[in-house]
């Protein structure tokens, strides 16, 4: 019961950060700032959702795979953020006009 409550709490927190990322995408004035919002808020959202689900899994192997997914998602989002930042920077510098 306590575990269930804890997991609900974590899931709600995760949702909150997902919605924050969405709001950031909507409200932040420039694209770099939106990239900041997405990278940070989304990772935290996914991490919290994953932690919340950890209390609901049937066995340890599930838990290991959950953590693996999250770790990879962290790496992926860091790389994605970097790639997009470079792309954006190149556009702003005027090397590439194909916006």
């Amino acid at each position: 019961m306590i575990l269930d409550a804890l997991s609900v709490l974590l899931l709600l927190l995760g949702l909150f950060f997902f919605v924050s990322g969405l709001l950031g995408l909507w409200r932040f004035p420039d694209t770099f700032a939106r990239l900041h919002a997405l990278t940070k808020a989304d990772n935290l959202g996914l991490g919290l959702v994953m932690t919340g689900l950890l209390f609901q899994v049937p066995d340890v192997l599930w838990a290991i795979k959950f953590i693996l997914v999250w770790l990879l998602a962290l790496v992926a989002s860091a790389v994605n953020a970097h790639l997009i930042a470079v792309f954006l920077h190149r556009q702003q510098e005027g090397h590439d006009e194909s916006a």
């Binding site: 995760g14 949702l15 997902f18 790389v79 790639l83 792309f87 590439d96």
Partner: protein
């Protein structure tokens, strides 16, 4: 408990819909790229939730594949070919 989890999935799907609408309202390519990233993370989160709700372990593999290939897709979209524009 499953009802609560499913409710969370529904909210996540709602966020998915809204971010899609935001993406469509933007005209710049990079903004859309950002939205694709958000949609990808949301998709992974929904898959993880569905895996628990539906007791389908295979969805975790699907999530792993999605995450790994998302990097490939972003890389393809942002890389610049030698001697030309992006």
């Amino acid at each position: 408990m499953n009802t609560v989890l499913l409710a969370v999935v529904v909210v996540l799907a709602l966020v998915l819909l809204i971010s899609l609408l935001i993406m469509l309202s933007r005209t710049r390519l990079t903004d859309r790229l950002l939205a694709v990233q958000l949609l990808g993370t949301l998709g992974v989160a929904i898959l993880l939730m569905l895996a628990v709700v539906m007791q389908q372990r295979a969805f975790l593999d699907t999530a792993l594949v999605l995450v790994l290939l998302a990097v490939v897709v972003t890389a393809v979209f942002t890389h610049r070919q030698r001697g030309g524009k992006s």
